[in-house]
Symmetry: C2
Subunit: 213 residues, 2 copies
Amino acid sequence: MSKRSGILEFAVLGLLRESPMHGYELRKRLNTSLGVFRAFSYGTLYPCLKTLVTQGWLIEETAADTDPSAAPLAGRRAKIVYRLTAAGKEHFEELLAHSGPDAWEDEHFAARFAFFGQTSKDVRMRVLEGRRSRLEERLEKMRASLARTRERLDDYTLELQRHGMESVEREVRWLNELIETERAGRSERPATGRDHNDNNQENGGRPGDRGTA
Amino acid sequence: MSKRSGILEFAVLGLLRESPMHGYELRKRLNTSLGVFRAFSYGTLYPCLKTLVTQGWLIEETAADTDPSAAPLAGRRAKIVYRLTAAGKEHFEELLAHSGPDAWEDEHFAARFAFFGQTSKDVRMRVLEGRRSRLEERLEKMRASLARTRERLDDYTLELQRHGMESVEREVRWLNELIETERAGRSERPATGRDHNDNNQENGGRPGDRGTA
DNA sequence: AATTTCATGTAATTCGTTACATGATTCC
DNA sequence: GGAATCATGTAACGAATTACATGAAATT
């Protein structure tokens, strides 16, 4: 039953794909590395982990399970470590391959983008372009509504609209850069197969960089 | 019982302060003029209106109530028009005067800003400055977390962080401009007394403008 | 020894949406 | 007279939070 929000499930699966973790640590990663934009509480995370286990995508391990002798040595006792199962990995690849319209909504998009490192190039392109046209649509609406109501609005409301539109325009420019860069050459790297540690280093800079050209 | 979200209640009260409206229209204003950032559905709005009536802040009027003869003439029949009561007006002024820490969270802030036209200068200042330090706090955390984890992150995650930080920095600059402008001289206009239609025109441009100086 | 941080969970509650149900009014 | 838009509502559900409850490990 239920969807478990998509976004949280997706992010959890993605983070656990990199390495097994327990809930507490997972939550921190969700809120820092990944989640500049989104914070989840324990009351959300723990029940979600339980259902993911139920669905066979994760397994719980106590530290002793894997290495009974080494467990006490490790820095700090990890009570329950969650590890991605084969089925979970498969499920995550599927989610990664989908690029439906939900994928270009604000938070959903950010989550997708955060795992672009594991995403194939064509999906990356579809998501970036989908996001862009979503924003352009939004801009159109904003412009139209602004044209209709301009006179009736006071300075502050107007300024709020203006600033909001500028933010959206700025994100469109950002997407344009990213799309250009993707077009220019980043290698394929389908998300399957090789270990995730061979991070693509064939382009050293940040995705937006076009090198020294 | 209950808080009714603060933000929706606040916005409804604020919009109705300008002029009476029925639910359908209210919702449109919420989602265009005011809500570049936030959309509410009928399933949220109508129940909310009901509780506001219960609390005595609004009264329902059928078009015939106020002017039985003129009602049929008006462009389109308005089924239930909501009007702010004296108590509701008072309550809104109170909300307007509060500048607690909730007021500088993302959506809450936007709602507050949208009604700055009715807000006294000192409260405006407190809200703007509160918002700014809230964002600066957030920037600090982001910088710290970035410094801690920089090496472990792949290009895309890094780029996402970078773009997120830039967005926040940009909003801080925006706030700086607004604060400067406020300091420079916009008149007091306490939210009570005179009719809301004498919108302050002593400064013609948008709030961020510093005129021709 | 006490405090902080790590760690896991549950119950009640809040906020809001979707889908449904209904009907009037305007435009073609 | 049929479609689109205006207009009002409700019931079921969804997603996530807060407050609570508990306890172990590390730090001072």
